[in-house]
Each structure stands twice: as structure tokens, then as C-alpha cells.
Symmetry: C2
């Protein structure tokens, strides 16, 4: 939505009524990603795009109906095989588009359009998720959620608000945008209503130092979880794109040199996998001096003891050393690199939520962090 | 290898020398999967295939050199773009093939060929992994590992044997076949030697009952971990291939009816996600009466309490109810469906290894189950 708000605001200030069409779901191959938007005004002017072209005219027609009626609509379009081919895809898919009229006062919500535009504009400083009911009662209602779980607006039901805010906080921390089903009476996910959660935040960044065997599985899993993944290793024969096709970037550089110039913030996770002191020690010395949310280092119990001694020699304080999760991961008896990747990402998630990792069936604590 | 052992044995009994070429690694697209084999005898006769055709002749040539010299070789071939296209792929890749002479006595190993063939033939009853050094000292050495971690043969070094056997046990439980790097002195994964671990076992089966939002992420993660994934739900509008493209099969059926005819063994994991009593209770009543390795059920604390009461009413004993992991997963504060999938698969792995799930950095227990 970000790319059209300036023009939409101008249209509104000129007295136009505006409808916004957003791709909320795709099945199979599709030309545009979830979150792509098209804005249409009552004069038939169009901004942005929701498809490669073929369904654009149909969406404009629907948008004009929505402007006329004021009622939001969720519509589905098959993307033809011909289009699929023309955009380089081998088969067609389906896209779902939510079309909503935008005026100063939002349908069934305590939010104004001004609140939403302001939150989007500030989202680089304060990442937010905008949650919209796209099917079911209160379609069109919106709620804004930030990383701490603070909310603005309502989806029209306190129980749904709680469930969606909880999920939105998690999606936001992953930088993910997604359509989900919810239901009442704790029988959630029963598809009574559909809510589109759109994150306005960069995805969290996972930096993996060490282009080893485990790195491949970890990069695959981290992509499933929505991370931007960097693999970095000083050895050019190991750090190759062919070995890590899932990673967003593969960098040949000493990890501590890479860290000198990299942007590290509270959404950055650093994982050190080489368990070779000549790479690990300088990387960890640099890592603990960043605001990274998570720093983990792989190695046996013995490697970990030896490494702590070297980090102390290098001048790290006890508090700095305690920021490092080593041995890395949850104690699940992981053996293969895939299992180790699960163990590591489970620790990353648990640490963010302040959870123990023990089995839920063995305690009586709340399941979700609130 | 399974498909050629009868003929290879016959060749050997006729006095032929035989080389076996195995695809041990693929990068990018490739026409055959890891584990594909071609057998060549000293008369130039050929069985099986390691590629779509283009590198076959080159491999036969290499195999004849290996038969002549007795020395194993690890060779790499680029698969041309032309071939890629002809087998329906859009770009070429690279395959690595290990070629080893097979005679009654195996190079640098305490195993005979008879041991290996016997273990492969019995692998339906007793799944095994065959580990082969394909690069580094002792190339050609083999070790057989079963699901309990029992070993036959050696890779020529006790420390490597321990590391590889540990990984092989994990790969075997997942039914995975894979090339990995190992090194000495606990600096493992440093690529001093390459070991190919080939599982002779069906992949473990994950049955997901409930075609809900979470099911999609869980099926993606389970495929990364090597599971065969079935999604089953009685509602045909939910249980569709389009919603769960990662699943191996999507079945429209009541879960308890599906379980009546399904094969369930100690490698089957059953996950019940609907948290709707009319589906869950009959599914769980059927599930606890199978030898499944893992049975988990999703739901809030309240849903879990209510469900236990219904399961008691349905006649389940306390021991049967205790087999069910509910609420499902490790306590990592999972919020999104991707995080919940990590929480569930982490519990599956932990339960198999008898581990707690707490952070490894918070205890002093051994990292790997031995």
C-alpha cells in the first residue's frame, strides 16, 4: 500500500472517492505478490497493479461497484495459462483480491484513514501490521498492531482482536504478510472469518557465519520463517550461491569484517556455525558489540568451553559472553542438519518470547505470549 | 542400489568384476535423484542409469578405469542446458557420482559385499543406512548403521565412525540419503572427508488431520525434514491439493475412517490440528490404538481439558490419553503457523530422542543422543 498513499491522499483531498484493491492470497503461480495494490478513484483513474494485466480491467470494474455501494468485496480470479507463460511461469494460478472503499472514516472500525496513513509513514521507525477483516462479519474493519502488541482500532470482536493481534505481532516480527482464518470460541482457524495481516517492516535478518553443511538446511528453514538470509564465510570455495540457493545473499568475507559495515539492529539474528576459533572468535567479539536480538554459536561442550576462554582473553565481559547462546539451539537431540536447523530456529523463537522450550503438555503455562 | 543387487550378484558369481556408480550429490536441476545407481562390469555391460543419458557414456568409461585400477573415484559432471530442457527442466545443474569397484572384499572396510547385500535385502524389516567415504582418506570404506545405532564395519577412524553413525541414525529415521562433510578433532563439518549416507528405509510418515491454516506450514516444514506427508480432512472444500501443494497426498475422509485402512507403524507421526471435537475425538481414539511414534493434538489449555474429558467418556485409559502430546509442541511462544510448525516438529524430534527441549546453553547434558 505504501507506494500509493501519497496519490490516494491527494485524490481524497480533491474530493474523490477511492477504492483500494489488494492481493491478499495467491494459489499456484501468480504474477504479483501478496500485498500488491491498485487504487481506483470514482473518475476511473488507476494507480498500481494487482496482476500482470489480464484481470486489471475486471478489478477496476469491481472497484467502481465498491465505490458506488460502499461495501467491500473479496473476489477471486484465475490467472490464465497464457498469462502465466507470458510472464515466464509454466502454469496458471488463482489470486484473491480484497477491494475496499477508502474514505476518511473507515467501515466498522475505530480507525480513521489518517491513523493508517500515519502509521504506514512511520513504519520504518515503528514497524506495524495492519489487520483487515476481508471475509465474514465486519468485513473492512481494521486494526493496527505494533511489535510490542499495542493496538489501534478493532475488528469488531474482543476475542478475535486478541487472537489476531497475537498472530500479527508474530507475523510482524518476521516481516510477513498473510491471509488467515479465524473463528470464535477458541475453535479458531475454522474459517469463520478471514483476516489479512500486512506487515510494514523489513523482514528480520539472519546472518549465518560459516558456509558449512548445516548452513544449507538453516537457510532453507529461515526462508520458510520469513527471514532475509545472508551466508558469509571467508573461504570462497565454500561460500557459493550454488551451495546455498535459498539464501538471499552469499558473501565471501571474514565475518568480523562483514559486521564492520553491515546494518545490525534489534531484528538481526547472528548465528556462528564454523566452530573454528580463527573465524568464530573475531566474529563473536564483533557480534556482541551490536544490538543483535540473538547471537548463537555452534560447537560441542568442549569447543564451547575453549571458546569462552578465548573470548575472555579477547576482553569480552561475562555479560557479553552470556549474550551468546552456546551450544546453540534447544535440547531436542537434533542429529541431521535439518533437525539442527529446527533446534536453532526454535531457540530463536523461544528467546524472543522468553519461553523455556519444554513440552507444552508438561507445563500449565499459557500457550501464547501475551 | 536395491534395484541392481540381484544382477550384480549374478555378474560376480560368473567371475566378472563390477563397478557401481552412485549419484551422491546434485546441484541445481538434475535428471536423476541422489542414490540413483548404474552398475558396469568388466565386459562393458551396463545396468541402471545415473543421468538422462548425456553423461552415461562418460560414466561407463570412468567405471572401466575404476575396475582396472581398483581405486574408487568421485567425479562431477555438468548437465547441459540442452539435456535440462529435454527432460523438462529450464536450466542445467551438476551431479557428483561416486564410482567404486565391487568385489567380495570391500576396500578399507571390515565388511564383505555379502553383509551389505544381506542388510539391503532385510531393510524392509530392519531399516539400515550404508555410509561410504567418497572423498578423503579411506575412500570406499563402508559402515552399516541401523535405527538403534548398532554398526557393522568402519570408515577407518573411530571418531569419524562415531560422528557419522550418529548422523546416519538421524538420517535413517527420516529416510534421507545425503552427502556430508566431516573433519577430525571435533571441528567436524570442515570438509576433510566426504561421506555418503544412503538410507534403505521408507521415509517416516506424517499424517496431519485437519486441513487448516497451520497445516500448510507444517507440511512444508515436514517435507524439509524428509517426511512423507498426508493431509486428511472430511471437508472437501478445505482438503484440496491447491491449499497444500507440499503434501504428498491430500485425502478427503474422516480421519478415524482413514486410520482404519492406513498403514501405521513405529515410523508414523499423527498430528491432529482441527481442535473440533467431532473430528478430533474419533481421530485420537483411533490413533492411540496404533503403534504410532507420536500423537499430538492442537488446542488451547481449555480445549485440551475438555478433550481429555471426552476421551475419557469414549473409554480411553489414562495411559492412552498420556500418549497424546496436548497442547501440541514445545513451549517456544510460537505465534504464526510457521513458528507453530517449528514448535511441533521440534517436539517430534525431542520426543524421539528423549530430550527436554530446554536451551542447550542452560544445561550441561550431552548435545547428541548416543
Amino acid at each position: 500500500m505504501k507506494e500509493v498513499i501519497d496519490e490516494v491522499e491527494q485524490w481524497l483531498s480533491l474530493g474523490h472517492t477511492v477504492a483500494l484493491a489488494t492481493v491478499v492470497n495467491t494459489l499456484g503461480s501468480s504474477p504479483r505478490e501478496v500485498g500488491a495494490v491498485m487504487a481506483v478513484n470514482d473518475a476511473g483513474e488507476v494507480l498500481g497493479s494487482v496482476s500482470g494485466g489480464c484481470v486489471e480491467a475486471a478489478v477496476v470494474e469491481e472497484a467502481l461497484i465498491v465505490i458506488e455501494s460502499g461495501e467491500p468485496r473479496l473476489v477471486s480470479y484465475g490467472v490464465s495459462d497464457e498469462l502465466g507463460l507470458s510472464v515466464g511461469l509454466t502454469c496458471g494460478g488463482t489470486i484473491q483480491i480484497f477491494i475496499q472503499q477508502f474514505s476518511d472514516k473507515l467501515h466498522s472500525s475505530n480507525l480513521s484513514l489518517r491513523d493508517i496513513f500515519q502509521a504506514i509513514r512511520q513504519s520504518l521507525q515503528t514497524p506495524i501490521a495492519i489487520c483487515t477483516v476481508v471475509e465474514g462479519m465486519q468485513a473492512g474493519a481494521k486494526m493496527i498492531v505494533n511489535e510490542k502488541g499495542d493496538r489501534l482500532g478493532s475488528l469488531g470482536n474482543a476475542e478475535i482482536d486478541n487472537m489476531v493481534a497475537d498472530d500479527a505481532q508474530g507475523l510482524l516480527q518476521q516481516g510477513l504478510t498473510k491471509l488467515s482464518d479465524y473463528g470464535l470460541n477458541e475453535q479458531c482457524r475454522q474459517a469463520e472469518i478471514k483476516v489479512f495481516v500486512e506487515s510494514f517492516a523489513p523482514p528480520p535478518h539472519l546472518m549465518i557465519f560459516g558456509a558449512i553443511d548445516f548452513t544449507r538446511s538453516l537457510s532453507v528453514l529461515a526462508k520458510v520463517l520469513g527471514y532475509q538470509v545472508t551466508v558469509c564465510d571467508a573461504r570462497d570455495s565454500f561460500a557459493t550461491v550454488a551451495r546455498f540457493p535459498a539464501a538471499d545473499e552469499v558473501i565471501v568475507e571474514w565475518p568480523h569484517k562483514y559486521l564492520e559495515n553491515a546494518h545490525v539492529d534489534h531484528r538481526t539474528m547472528i548465528v556462528v556455525l564454523t566452530h573454528d576459533p580463527k573465524f568464530d572468535v573475531p566474529a563473536l567479539v564483533s557480534a556482541v558489540r551490536t544490538p543483535a536480538a540473538y547471537i548463537g554459536a555452534m560447537g560441542s561442550r568442549r569447543t564451547t568451553r575453549d571458546r569462552i576462554a578465548r573470548l575472555q582473553e579477547a576482553g569480552l565481559t561475562e555479560a557479553e559472553i552470556n549474550r551468546i547462546s552456546a551450544p546453540i539451539g534447544l535440547d531436542i537431540g537434533a542429529r541431521t542438519s535439518e533437525e539442527t536447523a529446527v533446534s536453532i530456529m526454535a531457540e530463536v523463537i523461544a528467546l524472543r518470547s522468553g519461553r523455556s522450550g519444554e513440552r507444552l503438555s508438561h507445563n500449565q503455562k499459557p500457550i501464547h505470549a501475551r
